[in-house]
């Protein structure tokens, strides 16, 4: 693995971590972020490792816990932060908010607030690419709790029947809100569950960005070889509550400590960088400092950005028609 790649991953993971911590603070103490806020802290290796493995043009779609994916695909933190503050400069123009961030220039189709709602959409992207005959794949993310809704079943079955080029990335962070996976899913092992669609699945250490990257690379290769839909079950953990305000009474401190203190994906990567790749600590410290600045800059940018102009309220209810509907 190239050193610059590792540092790039490191940069993005730290960026996500610091960015999310800052959001938490802004929400709780500065009141500049409103609505629901679902943080990605702890799961950084998943978004970063999977998205690092994609080729340009591969589609990305996810649920409401989407800041990590937005930053990982390369959305500028300024625009992500501005979106959170409902500013006109936000990735979604301030109309989407935390749960609904997208950037079409990065074939990042957004976060979606309805549990499972993104799954058939992602399946549709895969259908479109197969139809067009390209070799673009789709990465469709969801939480393990979202595998119990009808959307999951109908989508994976359709992908199975039509052999669509898609990877369903299940981010198994053990809880859907306060409900532990085995209380909500009769089959708590996701890669077993997807056998119902004859979809091959692999359980991956979602705290290890290398493992995530490798597994995704291979799954993407299988997809492009025409082997049809794939599933990756990323074993991961969110350190914070489901959303800001959740006091996480449903889990023990010990459990949290186990993940955070022993498996933290950033620390793991950091050790790998220094010990295996001989990267100087100073280089990593520099990145950390750079990230702090990027995050502060994003807050500044967002704070200073204007709210959407009231006159835009009615824009884009329907998309702007490209080819006019008159006849030539």
């Amino acid at each position: 693995m190239d050193k610059s790649v590792l540092l790039d991953w490191y940069h993005t993971m730290v960026l996500i971590r610091r960015f999310e911590e800052r959001c938490d603070h802004l929400y709780k103490f500065e009141g500049s972020i409103k609505g629901f806020l679902h943080l990605y802290i702890g799961q950084e290796a998943v978004a970063v490792g999977t998205i690092a493995a994609r080729e340009e043009g591969d589609h990305v779609i996810t649920a409401y816990r989407d800041h990590g994916h937005a930053l990982a695909v390369g959305c500028h933190p300024n625009h992500v932060m501005a979106e959170l503050m409902g500013k006109a400069t936000g990735v979604s123009g301030g109309r989407g908010g935390s749960m609904h961030m997208a950037d079409i220039t990065k074939t990042f189709w957004g976060g979606y607030g309805i549990v499972g709602g993104q799954t058939p959409l992602g399946t549709g992207f895969a259908l479109a690419e197969k139809y067009k005959g390209t070799d673009r794949a789709t990465l469709c993310y969801m939480g393990e709790g979202s595998t119990n809704i009808g959307y999951f079943h109908e989508s994976l079955n359709m992908a199975g029947v039509w052999d669509l080029p898609i990877i369903y990335v299940i981010e198994n962070n053990k809880y859907g809100m306060g409900t532990e996976v085995s209380k909500a899913s009769a089959e708590p092992i996701m890669i077993e569950k997807v056998k119902a669609y004859r979809i091959p699945g692999e359980r991956v250490d979602g705290m290890d960005v290398f493992a995530v990257y490798e597994a995704t690379k291979q799954a993407l290769a299988r997809v492009r070889a025409g082997e049809g839909p794939q599933c990756l079950e990323m074993m991961t953990y969110r350190y914070e509550g489901h959303s800001v305000g959740d006091r996480t009474r449903y889990r023990t401190k010990e459990e949290l400590a186990l993940w955070r203190d022993e498996k933290d994906p950033i620390r793991t990567l950091q050790l790998e960088c220094t010990e295996r790749y001989g990267i100087a600590e100073s280089e990593m410290l520099a990145i950390q400092e750079q990230v702090m600045e990027e995050v502060e800059e994003s807050v500044r940018f967002a704070n200073e950005s204007p709210y959407p102009d009231p006159s835009t309220l009615y824009d884009y209810i329907y998309p702007v028609q490209e080819e006019p509907l008159t006849l030539d």
């Binding site: 979604s92 109908e154 359709m158 884009y316 509907l325 006849l327």
Partner: protein, 326 residues
């Protein structure tokens, strides 16, 4: 102009012509390929266009709605058929909370040129689960266009519009008029488009009757009857329920000072409710008598034929309502 065609043929022809014209257009739905569509709308399509473009799906309305929407976002122009509009309830969230929202919520970044075809309507003794005309539960939301043609000419031109529209369109086709001989008409050979806008379909002066979809035929028959008595009603066909654009209706009403709204769905929170609310607001000085509604009774459709008919609009009910306004 060729030979007269039915409402259903008009839709079939529009679909086929658009598919020939644009490779991005394809059909997906239950039994649309091998079977040729439950109501035979896509008969012969599999043979002409092949399995890539005419796709049978599993029975999975959530995925049909969602995957069609996704494919539209990613650059295609899917026409997703719900076998009947009743089954679209299963995909309701995907239609009204995803397809209808992506353009606005993502600040115009995405287009979403999906067409949801919904054969609908009651009166066929299919019982309460299968007899809905629930058009307003889709038309309530901004972001989704909800249209319903009333004649073969409109059906063809509006379907072409729907397919070429860059936003999501829910296209309602009342099954009861699919093959009605009285409705058959010649349509142009050349490509044409019918706008999603209301217009006067029959001129008159006694009373404005506002309707759409299968209501047109009923109102036309009522108009013929009434004409024998010297009562000439003006009929406005809405064509589009969302956006709802009432200029033609308001103009007509200002002339006749009387109105009746005729719809085949339930009356409560129905099309008539909205039309009346706007008429009395925008043409208050012209109301000479209460604006009346003829709609499906507020009762789930019973299976038994006579009972079911009782609850639906028909020519005598329209005639009675018109006379009441005079």
């Amino acid at each position: 102009m060729g030979k007269p065609i039915s409402y259903r043929e008009a839709i079939t022809n529009a679909l086929a012509e658009e598919m020939r014209r644009d490779d991005r257009v394809f059909i997906m739905g239950e039994e649309v390929a091998d079977w040729g569509g439950t109501y035979a709308v896509t008969k012969g399509f599999l043979e002409e266009f092949g399995p890539r473009r005419v796709r049978d799906t599993p029975i999975a309305e959530m995925a049909i709605a969602g995957a069609a929407t996704g494919a539209a976002m990613a650059g295609l122009r899917p026409v997703a058929e719900f076998m009947t509009i009743n089954f679209a309830f299963v995909g309701y969230d995907q239609i009204v909370n995803h397809a209808a929202k992506v353009s606005y919520m993502f600040n115009g970044m995405f287009k979403c040129p999906v067409v949801f075809r919904c054969p609908g309507g009651g009166g066929k003794q299919l019982g309460a689960t299968h007899s809905h005309t629930p058009d307003i539960v889709f038309a309530h939301y901004p972001g989704l266009k909800v249209v319903c043609p009333s004649t073969p000419y409109d059906a063809k031109g509006m379907m072409k519009h729907a397919i070429r529209d860059d936003g999501p369109v829910l296209f309602i086709e009342p099954v009861p008029i699919y093959t009605t001989p009285k409705l058959k008409e010649e349509v142009p050979e050349e490509d044409y488009i019918v706008p999603f806008a209301s217009h006067v379909k029959r001129e008159g002066d006694a009373c404005t009757v506002i309707t759409y979809g299968e209501g047109w035929l009923t109102c036309k028959q009522a108009a013929d009857e009434l004409a024998k008595e010297g009562i000439n009603i003006e009929i406005v066909d809405l064509r589009s329920l969302q956006p709802l654009e009432l200029t033609a209706a308001i103009e007509s009403f200002k002339k006749t000072n009387r109105a009746v709204v005729v719809e085949f769905g339930h009356g409560h929170y129905g099309v008539g409710s909205e039309v009346i609310a706007q008429l009395q607001e925008k043409a208050f000085d012209y109301i000479d008598s209460p604006i009346l509604r003829v709609a499906q009774d507020q009762v789930p459709p019973p299976y038994s034929g006579a009972l079911e008919k009782m609850a639906l609009p028909d020519v005598p009910k329209v005639i009675a309502a018109v006379k009441e306004t005079l």
